[in-house]
């Protein structure tokens, strides 16, 4: 593999993991929000 190949793998891996983790956190937040009354989840 060329140097650019390793660079591409590195960047794609990082953004894929961060995207997946971000989606996971947002979905979990939506699911939990439905179980908690509004007065206990007032965000600034």
């Amino acid at each position: 593999m060329t140097a650019w190949g390793y660079v591409t793998v590195g960047y794609v891996l990082v953004f894929a993991v961060l995207f997946a983790y971000g989606v996971h956190v947002l979905v979990k937040g939506r699911s939990l929000s439905k179980q908690v009354p509004p007065e206990n989840r007032r965000w600034m």
């Binding site: 960047y11 947002l26 937040g29 179980q35």
Partner: protein, 258 residues
């Protein structure tokens, strides 16, 4: 009550997180252009050195995360504040994700630079230990226990785990190994556009980290709320069962005979 339900959204987002998210996306785009197209290759490592704009920023954000986890743990031990405990656990989880990314980008960078993905170099060894320590923190956190016991136990584990953070940073000075010296120090040779791109990458990484942290904090807060509501419901049910058992015990038994 109806008004509150209408204005409080069913998610963990807010105006602040939307601004943080937009700034992060725009910043990532600028860093990608600068890091992959505008800056030139490194004189020694060539194009592989472009991974520095990724590896160092995630490592810096990871350190901030573990610093916050330690601060949150100390504050919990001092003030017994739920808010600080939630900061600690959220920062540890996001920090652990960033640790994994630092590890992976380091390995990907190591292959064209050193010829191997992995070697038991002092920096890599102490760093993998750091990953395991914070993974252990999250495992301890999930062990079934009373809330106060769980928080105290995990706070002590966080304080223990943080000892490895300065060791990781200083490992390149204390032991000779393959890993290069600290990129950002008074003796570092990086300059010009490369330095600018790297610093911008760090700033963007920190803003992105903050976005993750705020969302994860809110998720952890909601998890606690659900757990407490479940506990209260279980206690109410047990009390109702106990009352019913008392009533049955005091009622006279009626014998039926034909």
């Amino acid at each position: 009550m109806i008004e509150a339900e209408a204005t409080v959204p069913d998610h963990t987002g807010s105006r602040a997180t939307r601004v943080l998210g937009l700034v992060t996306v725009a910043g990532v785009a600028v860093v990608l252009v600068l890091g992959l197209a505008v800056t030139g290759p490194d004189a020694v490592q060539g194009d592989a050195a472009r991974l520095i704009y990724l590896h160092v920023p995630v490592a810096v954000a990871m350190n901030v995360g573990f610093g916050l986890c330690t601060l949150g743990s100390v504050m919990w031990l001092w003030r017994k504040s739920r808010w600080w405990d939630t900061v600690a656990v959220s920062a540890a989880e996001v920090g652990l994700v960033y640790t994994g990314l630092t590890l992976v980008t380091g390995m990907v960078w190591g292959r064209p630079t050193w010829g191997v993905y992995w070697t038991w170099d002092a920096r890599l060894t102490t760093f993998s230990l750091l990953f395991l320590l914070y993974l252990g923190y999250l495992v301890v956190r999930r062990l079934p226990a009373d809330v106060e016991v769980r928080n105290r136990r995990s706070a002590y584990v966080a304080l223990l785990a943080f000892v490895d953070v300065p060791i990781v940073y200083l490992s390149v000075s204390w032991w000779r190994g393959l890993h290069q010296a600290a990129t950002l120090s008074l003796s570092s040779t990086i300059s010009g556009l490369m330095l600018f791109t790297l610093v911008l990458g760090i700033v963007v990484s920190l803003i992105g980290f903050l976005w993750f942290l705020v969302h994860r904090f809110r998720v952890a807060w909601l998890e606690d709320e659900v757990e407490m509501a479940g506990l209260e419901l279980a206690i109410t049910e047990r009390r109702a069962e106990a009352r019913l058992a008392d009533v049955n015990a005091t009622m006279p038994t009626v014998e039926t005979s034909r």
